[in-house]
């Protein structure tokens, strides 16, 4: 299936529009901070020595790279309905543009206000761009950039993740060799 000009225009109309807004299920908590620090043997005193945290960061903070952790649900919760897939926009684009395969080429995380224990974060996804059709070694398709913004309970941005995806169709297979 080839995406029509109309479909591409419809998809591009969503550029800059906030979608899939969600609130974290749990406040940011120290137990998970310690589990994460232990998993990589991170002895940064900001996470282990309250006096150092007060002196340097004005109070306790979470490791910045834990940003996305606060939105991964626990494995089970009573009565929970299925949450959105992370990066739902990526899957929406594959479907709407008729591109069966996709890869993420790279991702960037930008860190803003510190995340602190007790914070309740919110997230939203924003499509930033959809390229014209391009052909790479993988096949023919389109590149897109999706931002995931994270804010705290005061509305301050704590971080933004940007993902570059490439949705594509594999080149048509070579015709089968004649039977010998």
């Amino acid at each position: 299936m080839t995406s029509t000009t109309d479909t591409v225009a419809e998809v591009r109309a969503l550029v800059g529009v906030a979608q899939y807004e969600e609130s974290g299920d749990f406040p940011v908590e120290r137990g998970y901070i310690w589990t994460t620090c232990a998993s990589v043997e991170n002895g940064n005193p900001l996470f282990w020595d309250d006096d150092v945290a007060r002196a340097v960061t004005g109070g306790l903070i979470a490791p910045p790279t834990m940003l996305s952790v606060w939105f991964r649900p626990h494995h089970w919760a009573p009565g929970r309905t299925a949450p959105h897939l992370p990066l739902q926009i990526h899957f929406d684009l594959k479907e709407r543009l008729g591109l069966p395969e996709a890869v993420m080429s790279d991702n960037t995380i930008v860190f803003h206000e510190p995340v602190r224990p007790g914070d309740v974060l919110a997230t939203r996804q924003i499509l930033r761009s959809v390229s014209d059709e391009k052909t790479t070694k993988l096949g023919t398709g389109r590149f897109w950039v999706i931002d995931v913004e994270y804010t705290n309970q005061d509305g301050a941005v704590v971080g933004v993740e940007s993902y570059t995806g490439f949705g594509y169709r594999r080149p048509a297979a070579d015709p089968p060799a004649p039977a010998s």
């Binding site: 002895g43 150092v52 004005g58 834990m66 995380i109």
Partner: protein, 167 residues
Amino acid sequence: MSADAVSREVSPVLLLGEVAVGDRLPELAYEVTATTVVLGALASRDWRPMHHDKDFAVDRNGTRDIFLNTPNQAAWFERYLTDWTGPHGRLGRMTFRMLGSVFPGDTMVLSGVVDEVTVDDQGCGWVGVDVTLSVGDDVKTTCDARVAVPVDPTDNPWRRTSARWHP
């Protein structure tokens, strides 16, 4: 004066003036085990089976074993950078490129080279570091990082609020 430590001074470990383009960070080598992979996956609430179930990883992902997940690798990169900067080092941004998987039995080596040293228009000192996670001769993940470090002993990047923080 009270003995209470609320106003305790903590000196920066690394100042911007001590860093130059081309400097190499000390390498970190770590023997990855199944425990490393599983602990890292659970610490990042990543319950997908290829990070804890070897049969699933082999049969469904076609890999030779379970492998380190991306969010936990980000935590390794953070630890590597802040081991070097000390607690005053404040991450601004990281760009990851995943090139290959890291398995139990691998010795992963993190190394880094400074590729930029600048001061922005708010007076914030920035160091760019090109960090590589390798196993043997294979580069598995690269991370271009930008981290703020104090420009002098009285500076502290963590005191910068939004208007003065341009990561």
